[in-house]
Amino acid sequence: MIQRKVWIIALFCALVLPIVLPYLTPYESNPSLIEPARAQAAWGCLWVVTIAWLFFQAARFGDDTARSGLGAYFLSSGVSGLSQMMQIWLACLSFLLPLVLVALAVCFIGAMPSDSAQAQMWVATNLQYAALFLLVVTPLMMVAVSVGSRFGSTVGYLIPLCMSIYGMYGVGYLAMMTDAQSNLLLDWLYVVSPHYHLADLTPRLVFKHGSMLGSEFLQLVIYFAGIKIVLAMLSTLTFQPKAAT
């Protein structure tokens, strides 16, 4: 009955692991840390589920559409390639948005600070985090759909996977390299790299740094929206609704 129902595992990771994992730490020494740990686990699990599962689903949907002949069928019926890509992408969002809501629910119900001022800040930080998270992963999901339709699900999965890992962690190593040696090429690479690590507000939640200033948040929104526009354009050019001939 649960055959081919991976969403159950995804939901389990997003809902149950953030509750369970903090208890595997030596929380007895400082019980007040359990709530920030829960928030950290909730967002961490969401990133993992999105990168490990949803990107692959998106790539597979793109691949299936081209390979099954459905893309050609819809194309002949007058549904343009762009429209098909957007519809597949929106279908992927229907998986993603509930998972984001689950992460927010875990943070709001299971980790809300008791102090009202802190609680207000907590809500704002989590909402900012959700917005930045969506701005980062939704264009990558579109990349997965379009590359999957043209090059197959494996390539369609690996490209957004590598981009997200590079943007989250690789850019940090690049920064260390540019600090250590002056190299124009590395400096240029650092500037044009997608700085997805900026969307990770987990440290703010864990260390209770409070929400971002409005202007700072707006700058990040504009930055990620710019990346989103570039990736959306590239995805539109790459998407292929019919199988390669």
């Binding site: 099954s68 194309l75 002949s76 019926s77 001939t245």
Partner: protein, 223 residues
Amino acid sequence: MNLPSTKPRIHLARGLSIGYGESLAGIESDGGDIVLEGGTHYLLARNGRGKTTLLKTLAGVLKPLGGGYECEGRCQYLSEDLTFDRELPAKAIFKALLKKSRYADAIKLANTIELDVEKPYAKLSTGNKRKVALLVAEFSVCDQGLDVLLLDEPFTGLDAFAREAFQERWNQRQDGVLRLVSCHPDLDSMEVNSSVLISDGKITHVAGDGSTQCWGELKTQLN
């Protein structure tokens, strides 16, 4: 594909050339244009002669190498390898792709041709999978008869009973829908009123003037 004016129509102009990179088939520049109107037309040719390529070109999925064509009507191209989500049963596919008003009719015909609409698509036999695709195409047509159905080998894997059920339906319904059906008839006595033949790289139109020919006669013209 153009929006229909009053009835569906396919016009293959002289000089039309189809293929992938190099020409597979075409209409000679000194040949006549081919015009198909509402009704069922069979596209007949031996393997690898360009049946699928012609249908893809008419559907707008492939660009012609030269010449021009017009496909007026609401077009639907059903490729031979069209498949649906393996987890969904036929009734869910119909619900997703057909209008509410046509759903009940589709289920009724599915029952007549013995298609299990509850079974997941992946568990259906090849013939039953084809039935799902055919039913989707058949019941997606609008009521005004402005549709062009391009069916690529729709009878592959279908038993004689189901095939006859569809052919009978097409003959009975004067719905004005233009169906261009590529197939390999297995009965010499099968009657063909209008057929587009691809032979020796040339696309020609046979009959269509009310006279009927049998597959047994037509196949001698194919090379």
